[in-house]
Amino acid sequence: MRRRLASMVRKEFAQLLRDVPILVVLLWAFGGAIYLQGHAASTEIHNYPVVILDLSRSAASRELIARLHAPYFKIVGYVGSDRELVAALDLARASVGIVIPAEFERDVVAGHGGFQVISDGTLATSATIAVAHLSTITAEYNQFLVERAAVAAGGTIAAIPTVDARIRVAYNPNQTSAWFSSILELLNMTTMVSMLLTAAAVVREKERGTLDQLLVTPLRSVELFSAKIIPTLVLVLVLSFLSLVGIIRGAFGTPVRGSLVLFYLVTALYVFAVANLGIAMAVMVRNVAQVMMLLILILFPMLFLSGARFPPETMEPWLRYLSLISPMRYYIDFGYQVLFKGNGFAYVWHDVVGMAVIGAVTFGFSIIRFRRLFHR
C-alpha cells in the first residue's frame, strides 16, 4: 500500500511541478502578492488628506493648523476660496476640508472662536476616526489656550489638573500596517491555494476521464484521496515558511513572536481541512466551469467573513454566527494570536478545536463522496 501511495504522490507532484504557469502563480501568490500587500493601502488614518481654507491668516489660525500633522493628517493644499475647497473634496484630492473664518483670532481672544470642518463621509469609518482626531486636537488646543490665559492671569501650569492618557498600542506600537497586511495576505493565500489546488487536481482527472483509469487500478480510494492532498500540503507549508521568513520577517521586519512549530502544525491541520473542502466541491461537479462557480460561492464569503477586514464586532449577529462555520475564521484568529501576540496553545486551543471539527466534517463528507465514485 505504501508503494502505491508513494508512486501516486510522485505522479501528482510531477504533474504539479511540470505546469509552469501554475508554478509562476504560486510563486507570485507567496512572493509578489504578499510584498505588494505590505505596501498597499493602509486601512487606518495615516496621512489623511486635508485641505485648508485659512481666511484668518493669523497667529491663532497658524497655531491651530500646526497641530494638524503626521502621522494622522497630511495637508495636501491651501486654497483661496470656497469653490476650490469644494473642488478638492469633490475630486477626492482631500478627505477633510477646514475653513478658518476671517475673524477667528478676534473670536478666540473673546472666548468664542470657531472653525468649520467638512468631512467627506464616503468612507464612513475613516471619516469617524478623522473627526475623533480633530476633536482631540481642538480640545488640546483649548487646554493650551486656557492654560496660557491662566498663566497670563498669574496662575501656574502646575496647578492645572489634567489626565494624561498614556496610550500604548500593544504588539504593534507604531501601527505599522505592513505587519498586519503581509500576514493577512499569507493567511489568505494559504486558504485560497489549498482549496484551489486540490479542487483542480481532482477536477482535472474528472474532465480528462483519467479518473476512470485510476478507478480500475489497484489504488484504494483512501490512497488516491491522500495522493491528491499531500502535494498541496507540502507545497503550501514550504512556500508559507519561505514567505514568512523571507518576506514577512525579512522585508517588512514583522516580529514573529510565537512558536513556528505550533503555527505550522496547526497550519497543516488547516490546509487539510480546506483541501478537503476543495475535494468535496470537485467531486460534486463535472467540469472546471462548475467547480469555479462553487469555489466563488464558498471562498468569497470565507474571505469576507474571516474577521480580518471586518472584525467580528462589526458584523450583524446572524452573520457573526454564520461566519463560525468557516474554518478561516478560526485560522485568522489563530494566526495572529500565535505569530503576532506570541500566544501559546492555551490561548488558541478553541481555534484549533474549531478547525479540527470542521476538518473532520469536510473530510467525512469528501471521503464518502469520493468513495461513491469507486462504487458506481
Binding site: 493602509s42 477626492a92 463621509g121 489626565v163 492618557a165 472546471v288
Partner: protein, 375 residues
C-alpha cells in the same frame, strides 16, 4: 467581416444559454453575496470590549470611567483584579483595550496635579486599534477640557472652551457604512466574476481542441476576441443592473448621481474585467491554470488597491502606482462618486478615459497573444 464577429457572438451566446445552471449561477451568485454582505457587514465600530483595572476606586475614577464606558462605542467586560488579569484579557482577545487607573488618580486631581492613566490597546488589527485610540483620546481630551474649565470656572476666567469645532459631514451625512460598502461591493463583484468567466473562454477551446476550428476559420483575431467577450460583458452588465436595483430598493443606499453615467462606467468596466479574463486565457493552456491566475490576480487587488476601505490619497507610493494600474480604482471613484456625490461627467471623465484606455490595452495584449497558428 462583421458577420464573422456576429457569428461567433451568436455561437457563444447559444453556448451560454444552453447551460442554464451556469448562467443562473453567474447571475445569481453575485446577488446572493450582495445580500449577505449588504445586510450583514456594517464596518461600524461599536461594542469595543473594554476592560478596566481601577486601583483608585474613587469618585474621580468612576467619573472618568463613566464617560468612557457608557458611550455607545464601548462594551464594558469587567473590572480586573490586577494588571496581570487585564493583560490576560488583552492577550486572549476578551478585551480589545484595557484602562489602568493608578491609585494616585484622585489624590493627584484633587491636588490639582496632572494624573496619568494607562491605556493598553490590542494592536493586532490596525484599523481597529486606530479607532480605539481615536475614541479614547477624544473622550480623554473632552474630560480634560471639562476639568480645566470647571477648575478655572470657579475663578470666573472662562466657563466655555474658547474654540469650538463645527463639523459637517458631506456626501454621506449619516455616516452609514452601507453607503460605502455596497457601491464598493459592486466594484469588487464586477471585477472578480467577469474575470473568472472570461478566463475560461479561450482556454476551454484550447483544451477541447476546438480552437483549431477558429484558427482555420476566416474569422480574424479581433472578431474572435470581441465575439467571445460580448455575451459575457452583457452578463456582467445585467448583474450590475440587478445589483444596482437591489442597492437602491432593498438596501436603500443613498444614490444622488446620474444613473446614465454610472451605467456607462459599469459597461466600460465590464469590458475591462471580461478582457482581463480573456487576456489570462490567452496566456495559458489550461482552464485550471487560467482559473487559478484569475482568482489570485483579482481578489487581492480588488480589496486592497482600489480604495475599497481607505482613501487612495493616503496610500504609499508603491500601493498608489499599483492601484493606478488596475481598472477597479477608477470605477471605485466613479461608483462611489455617483452614489454619494452626484457629480457629473465634467468630474468623472478622467475615470471613463482611464477605463477606456485600460480596455484598449488589455484587448490589444490579448490580440497579440492570440496567434492564429499552431505551436
Amino acid at each position: 467581416m462583421h458577420s464573422r464577429m456576429v457569428a461567433i457572438l451568436l455561437k457563444e451566446t447559444r453556448e451560454l444559454l444552453r447551460d442554464p445552471l451556469y448562467l443562473g449561477l453567474a447571475l445569481g451568485i453575485p446577488l446572493l453575496q450582495m445580500v449577505l454582505f449588504g445586510f450583514g457587514l456594517t464596518a461600524d465600530v461599536k461594542h469595543v470590549r473594554v476592560g478596566v483595572v481601577d486601583h483608585d476606586r474613587s469618585p474621580y475614577s468612576r467619573d472618568y470611567l463613566d464617560a468612557l464606558v457608557h458611550s455607545e462605542y464601548f462594551d464594558f467586560v469587567g473590572l480586573a483584579r490586577d494588571p496581570a488579569e487585564a493583560d490576560g484579557w488583552l492577550r486572549s482577545g476578551k478585551a480589545r483595550v484595557v484602562i489602568d487607573i493608578p491609585p494616585t488618580f484622585a489624590r493627584d486631581l484633587a491636588a490639582r496635579r496632572p494624573a496619568s492613566i494607562g491605556v493598553n490597546v490590542d494592536g493586532v488589527f490596525p484599523t481597529f486599534a486606530e479607532i480605539i485610540v481615536g475614541y479614547v483620546t477624544a473622550v480623554n481630551a473632552l474630560y480634560n477640557q471639562q476639568l480645566v474649565t470647571t477648575t478655572f470656572g470657579s475663578r470666573a476666567i472662562r466657563m466655555t472652551p474658547p474654540v469650538s469645532l463645527n463639523v459637517s459631514i458631506w456626501y454621506n451625512p449619516s455616516l452609514e457604512s452601507k453607503n460605502f460598502i455596497v457601491p464598493g461591493m459592486i466594484v469588487i463583484l464586477m471585477l472578480i466574476f467577469p474575470a473568472l468567466l472570461g478566463a475560461l473562454l479561450i482556454t476551454r477551446e484550447k483544451e477541447a481542441g476546438t480552437i483549431f476550428n477558429l484558427y482555420a476559420s476566416p474569422a480574424r483575431r479581433i472578431d474572435i476576441l470581441l465575439g467571445k467577450a460580448a455575451p459575457y460583458v452583457a452578463v456582467a452588465f445585467l448583474d450590475y443592473l440587478l445589483i444596482f436595483t437591489m442597492s437602491v430598493w432593498l438596501f436603500h443606499v443613498r444614490f444622488v448621481g446620474s444613473f446614465g453615467l454610472l451605467s456607462a462606467g459599469a459597461l466600460l468596466y465590464a469590458v475591462c474585467t471580461v478582457g482581463t479574463g480573456i487576456l489570462i486565457s490567452t496566456l495559458v493552456r489550461t482552464q485550471l491554470a487560467a482559473m487559478l491566475i484569475a482568482f489570485l490576480a483579482t481578489v487581492t487587488p480588488a480589496f486592497q488597491l482600489s480604495g475599497f476601505l481607505a482613501p487612495v490619497a493616503s496610500q504609499d507610493p508603491i500601493g498608489r502606482i499599483a492601484g493606478a494600474l488596475i481598472p477597479a480604482t477608477y470605477f471605485m471613484d466613479l461608483a462611489r462618486g455617483s452614489y454619494l456625490k452626484g457629480l457629473g461627467l465634467d468630474v468623472y471623465w478622467p475615470d471613463l478615459a482611464a477605463l477606456a484606455l485600460f480596455a484598449v490595452a488589455v484587448y490589444a495584449l490579448a490580440w497579440s497573444r492570440l496567434r492564429k497558428r499552431i505551436g
